[in-house]
Symmetry: C2
Subunit: 236 residues, 2 copies
Amino acid sequence: MNLILLFPEDFIEDTNRVRLQGRRRTHICEVHRAQVGDELCVGILSGRIGFGRVTQRDPSWLEMEVRFEQAPPPKLPLTLILALPRPKVLKRVLRSASSLGVQRIILLNSFRVEKSFWQSPVLSSESLQEQLIIGLEQARDTVLPEVLLRPLFKPFVEDELPGLIKGAFSLVAHPLASDPCPRDIKQPMVLAIGPEGGFITYEIDNFISCGFMPVQFGKRILSVETAVPALVSKLF
Amino acid sequence: MNLILLFPEDFIEDTNRVRLQGRRRTHICEVHRAQVGDELCVGILSGRIGFGRVTQRDPSWLEMEVRFEQAPPPKLPLTLILALPRPKVLKRVLRSASSLGVQRIILLNSFRVEKSFWQSPVLSSESLQEQLIIGLEQARDTVLPEVLLRPLFKPFVEDELPGLIKGAFSLVAHPLASDPCPRDIKQPMVLAIGPEGGFITYEIDNFISCGFMPVQFGKRILSVETAVPALVSKLF
């Protein structure tokens, strides 16, 4: 937790003081080992970042006086379309994508996605938000990425995707593509990454008809957890 | 497991047949659901890759007839120096670095590394190899990265590091550096990444005296799991 993320309800009435309990208090006391008077990096959800000075410590809560000084780091103009990974991997991918500054994450069904993954409690909005917040706290950001769940491939690709990719450079990772992944793109992008085993031909063809360029990322097949930071970092 | 990694002891006498038990048999039968006659990608440790055709299945073992056709993908000419991460993270980082094709991984002590991490069973050679093999199986590679454990910072940096970096472009990740990370370097490299909280000034100064260039990777602080694929992919 390189930044303590604050929410409007943490504030004591109309003051610049916050009272924290639970996970954040424990982390501040036990990992940062912060004493009264110490300053920590804080940020307000969707807003500015700054510092919080610990003013009171109690076994169950902690108070800080906060001031906000600067904007959070800019988001990457990137929409990441991911074939829904298995729940344990999804949690790590959400944290990583959130810390990298991805603006929007679309979790999509694909032929090779196990149906049971869509029943996972990790997909509840509370659980998604929890993982995204861990990513923001890691990277010192305050702005949550948008997450969309799309459990039906065809209606998404046919009805929604054409609008989503307007004005963006759109790539789909495909091991059999002939073009290598471009680098250092400084424009809005949409990047689609398939499941373990890849998108099937029908799915790749749908992306291509929609305007996506298929690109390959070398001979090595990477797990989605490794592929997401590797590809995002190559593109931006 | 995109490649079944084979070892000399898997071969039945002087034949081109292998007999597999345990984890690999289970994976072939339950994940690939391979039947007699099916072909799977295989590779021989430190050697070539090719195909294995399932010839016999038994509840406790499986036989394949194998042929090797091509060289494994080339390694990245990269030595990664990592302040030893906590054991759970280390396992994931080893898998990821191995799948990315990193040639050598040096796990180094640093002021901010918890002493207890050095006692972890993950550092046994069997356990290290297990994680590296998972990375090779993911990426379809057969050549294990070299892993060195260096639990003493000073003797390593003073006595061993100058020899290791000869002829290589050497970078140390440092959030306060003014130079951004270079991109698309196609030459031998050494990259040092600090622990959570970063290398301390004394350590950074030691790397700089040795010939390392301090570089920063943007405003976002990434976890080592995300930083490794992101930085490796930016450099190569």
